[in-house]
Amino acid sequence: MMQAHTLVYVIDDDMSMLKAIGRLLESEDYSVEMFTGAREFLARAPHTGPSCIILDLNMPGLNGLELQEALAERGRGEQVIFITGGASVPTCVQAMKAGAVDYLSKPFRDEDLLCALEQALTRSSEQWLQHSQRKEVHKRLATLTPREFDVLKLVITGKLNKQIASQLGTTEGTIKVHRGRVMEKMGVASVAELMILAQRAGIAPASADSTKV
């Protein structure tokens, strides 16, 4: 799997803070994009690759917590680090519950921000990897015919061709041809590999009853 480009977003309505964080991150060779408001950020197309948002909590218009919520609704997986001028315990709890990586009070130490950022990007890379793998599996699955898909679901239960044929009401030879096509289309050489892919794609092995024709 190819290594995707990572990107850090900074969103703060305070220009001086925004510029300062931008400088810090650039000095550490991060790719940075800056926004002075949450709406401007949402207007931008999502990045394809690991990413993290350094997000000011108190902003006019859409505030930090609200943006976090909006991203979740859209199913976007950017990792969030909150920064705030006046920390209050309830907002902190809410932010962390909603999945924030960290919550930093201004003024914070740059090591703390960089450390949180590393953590966030690692998490995002993993997530991105999984996401891209899942996407690949789905892409391959999409090439299967419905009959092949049925065969796949029975293969990953560990059944033999003969058993599958009897369950699907066809000949063992036909199943063998289907199975070969499935293995080829999914790009695997063994049943074990196929099982891993299926699991990654979230395909449940067919139960004896449900696949009965």
């Binding site: 001086s16 300062a20 400088r23 810090l24 902003m59 505030n63 001028g85 006046g86 914070f108 921000l113």
Partner: protein, 753 residues
């Protein structure tokens, strides 16, 4: 002359000398019809000298200015060498006097006070060689032991201990002890020595005790418990036993107040301070006699170096009220003595009232007669005028009003007794505008003079409130109202009344103080409510500083930042630091106590400043603040901190009111404008639930609060602040929901943005 045998010889010689002058004077003043101009230069001590010196000066000035037969030009200079002793060694004063009087060389110099005489003698040859010198107010020992140059003559000051002690023993024959209260300074030494000599002569009758080494407080304590067969003789004190400089007249008053037994004194002004009496020196007489010496010198007469004032002419005066206070019998008063301050009999006290009543009756009779026999309307008018004047007089005294009439052409002021009391002016003394002006508090003097000038120039009314300071330091507020009467377009006289408004002014000041205090406390509370947001507001620039500095440090280690970039970072750090400082300054400013001092400010600026301070609070309340500022708003005169407080209050209230509406509707609009005339307006509008419909004005009441944590003082104080600025603050429900607060203030004369 009665007691001549008891005097020492020298004194007798002086008396004879005095007699000799008066005989000389009896020949008549030297008349000079076409008299050549003579120049007199008077050199005084210090301009704010003790009352005694002032009286001498007044006597001298009066005598010089009313000189008949002389064409005099009089100049005065205050050398003030007592307080600036170093000046007498430097040549600056000499140079100054020469520069000034080089072309108008004086014909006679008059020097008052030891130091001045000393100076004149030391520098005579550089200053005005050969010009005759007349001196007074000088310790005679300075002169006696000294070889005097020619043409120097003077008068020394002498107290009449002899006759004062005789008076004491006559009034109180049971006296066994004379307690001398005096000072320990150099000034008093010659007086004390003289007194010791005189007291020697009474040694067979009374003991003498000297209280001259004690601090004033100890002296006062001591005289309060003297045995009843003693009397106090007060020799004017300039410096007490502890070396503290004191006011001699003030000491006389304190002594008279404290002493258990009668206090006898030596100078006339002490009588008013409550001493019982004595053979009293009138200081203005010293001035008078000095002037007489100067005239004789001008006439070419040769005079002896030292002349004594004729102490036999010092009047024997007794204070009737002190007599009563110390229970001294009136029957022993010698025929030569004069009683002062006697309480007046019913007739004396109410003579005016009785006369006025009688006069009214009489005039009424005249009126009736006039109506019957002549039917003259003119007389009737005159009469009712006079009647109304009298009634006015009665009303004025009942209302504690001091009345006065100023004859502008002659600069003489007639004042009622109450009027004199208001200014602390003794009865019977002559009053002119300068004398009144001198009693006005220095800070108010210019304004009062301007008000009078204005009334005289633009035919009209005079109205002024100002402070007067009495000679004992007491300060009173006076309201003066007057009207100028004109003749031929010229101001002739001004009539008016004065009223003591001290209590009212004090109450006003106290109310203002309390208002300021309350405003301050409420401001502190307000900032307390805001503290969370303020921390946020401060952390913002602090965060920028720390992060910027961190970025710079990291780049520095790797040498990756260009100089240009580096400069940018540092500039941003500076800007953020200044922003933090500004926030702290404005908080500090708000926490400061103010005394309501006004300055001219722009309303827009005040509002903008408060919006910066509340920026984080607006965020916390999800409120959008919109401003509609008038671009050319006239400025207002205000206590800036208090005005800030009013807006802070209104802004925070608007945020608070916005809580109950959905986020997207939370707006606060601040609008300023002016009516193009004299009123500037500001409106703070929210879109909240609005004011209680049945009584919107209740929000301005004390302890009215809709906030759970609120004390309900905010708007009450805001309104009282605005009222103290001659403005109004009111509230109403706005069309389209929410409430709006209107603040109106008078525009300052100055136009600006």
């Amino acid at each position: 002359m009665l007691n001549l045998p008891n005097r020492i010889r020298r004194l007798a010689v002086f008396v004879l000398l005095c007699v000799a002058w008066f005989n000389a004077d009896a020949g008549g003043p030297v008349e000079a019809l076409s008299a050549p101009k003579k120049t007199v230069l008077v050199l005084y001590g210090d301009p704010l000298s003790a009352p005694a010196d002032r009286m001498t000066e007044q006597g001298l000035t009066a005598a010089l200015s009313s000189a008949h037969g002389w064409n005099l030009e009089v100049f005065s200079e205050y050398l003030d060498l007592e307080r600036f002793p170093e000046a007498q060694y430097g040549g600056d004063i000499v140079r100054y006097l020469r520069a000034r009087y080089g072309t108008r060389k004086p014909d006679v110099l008059i020097a008052l006070v030891n130091t001045t005489l000393q100076f004149v003698l030391d520098h005579r040859n550089e200053l005005f060689p050969g010009v005759p010198i007349v001196f007074a107010d000088v310790d005679h020992r300075e002169v006696e032991g000294r070889q005097m140059p020619p043409n120097v003559a003077g008068l020394w000051m002498a107290w009449d201990y002899q006759r004062t002690l005789e008076l004491a023993l006559q009034l109180q024959p049971e006296t066994r002890e004379v307690v001398c209260v005096t000072g320990s300074g150099v000034e008093e030494q010659p007086w004390n020595n003289e007194a010791r000599k005189v007291l020697q002569r009474f040694a067979s009758q009374v003991r003498t005790r000297w209280l001259d080494k004690l601090p004033l407080q100890a002296v006062l304590h001591e005289v309060a418990r003297l045995p009843l067969d003693s009397v106090v003789l007060y020799i004017p004190m300039e410096r007490d036993g502890a070396g503290q400089t004191v006011s001699p007249f003030e000491v006389a008053r304190q002594l008279a107040d404290a002493s258990r037994v009668p206090v006898y004194g030596l100078s006339r002004p002490e009588l008013q301070q409550g001493i019982i009496g004595g053979a009293l020196l009138d200081f203005s007489e010293i001035g008078n006699k000095t002037a007489a010496l100067a005239f004789r010198v001008l006439a070419g007469e040769k005079l002896p170096v030292l002349s004594a004032p004729d102490i036999a002419t010092y009047p024997l005066l007794i204070n009737w009220q002190a007599l009563k206070k110390w229970h001294v019998s009136e029957s022993r008063i010698p025929g030569t003595a004069t009683l002062a301050y006697r309480e007046r009999s019913l007739w004396e006290q109410h003579r005016r009232l009785i006369l006025a009543t009688a006069a009214t009756l009489l005039l009424q009779s005249v009126l009736i007669a006039g109506l019957i026999f002549q039917g003259s309307r003119r007389k009737r008018a005159e009469l009712s005028l006079r009647e109304s004047e009298q009634q006015m007089g009665l009303a004025a005294s009942a209302a504690e009003l001091g009345m006065w009439t100023w004859d502008i052409l002659r600069d003489r002021i007639w004042m009622s007794d109450k009027g004199r009391a208001l200014f602390g002016i003794a009865p019977e003394t002559r009053v002119d505008n300068a004398a009144l002006s001198a009693r006005v508090h220095p800070e108010d003097r210019a304004a009062r003079d301007a008000a009078i000038r204005h009334a005289l120039e633009t035919p009209g009314e005079y109205a002024m409130e100002y402070r007067v300071v009495h000679s004992d330091g007491q300060m009173r507020w006076i309201a003066g109202r007057g009207r100028v009467e004109f003749g031929d377009g010229k101001p002739l006289r001004m009539r008016g009344v004065s009223l003591d408004i001290t209590e009212r002014r004090q109450a006003e000041l106290e109310a203002a103080r309390q208002r300021n205090e309350l405003a301050h406390r409420s401001r502190v509370t307000l900032l307390g409510e805001l503290s969370g947001s303020l921390a946020h507001e401060l952390n913002q620039p602090l965060g920028a500083i720390v992060t910027n500095a961190g970025a710079a440090l990291r780049s520095l280690g790797r040498d990756r930042m260009t100089r240009e970039k580096f400069r940018e970072v540092l500039e941003d750090i500076v800007a953020a630091g200044q922003r933090a400082g500004e926030i702290i300054r404005s908080i500090k400013g708000m926490l400061r106590k103010t005394e309501g001092a006004r300055q001219v400010v722009g309303l827009n600026d005040v509002i903008a400043q408060m919006l910066r301070l509340t920026q984080s609070d607006a965020l916390a309340h999800d409120c959008v603040v919109l401003t509609e500022f008038h671009p050319a708003l006239p400025r207002v005169e205000a206590d800036v901190v208090q005005l800030q407080q009013v807006f802070l209050n209104l802004i925070l209230n608007a945020f608070e009111a916005s809580k109950d509406v959905p986020k997207l509707q939370r707006r606060v609009i601040i609008h300023t404008d002016w009516d193009g005339d004299g009123t500037v307006r500001a409106c703070v509008r929210d879109f909240g639930a609005g004011l209680p419909a049945e009584a919107p004005e209740r929000i301005f009441e004390q302890f009215f609060s809709t906030k759970r944590e609120g004390m309900g003082m905010g708007l009450f104080i805001a309104r009282s602040i605005v009222a103290a600025h001659r403005g109004t603050l009111c509230a109403e429900n706005a069309k389209g929901g929410g409430s709006q607060f209107w603040l109106r203030l008078p525009a300052s004369k100055e136009i600006g943005v």
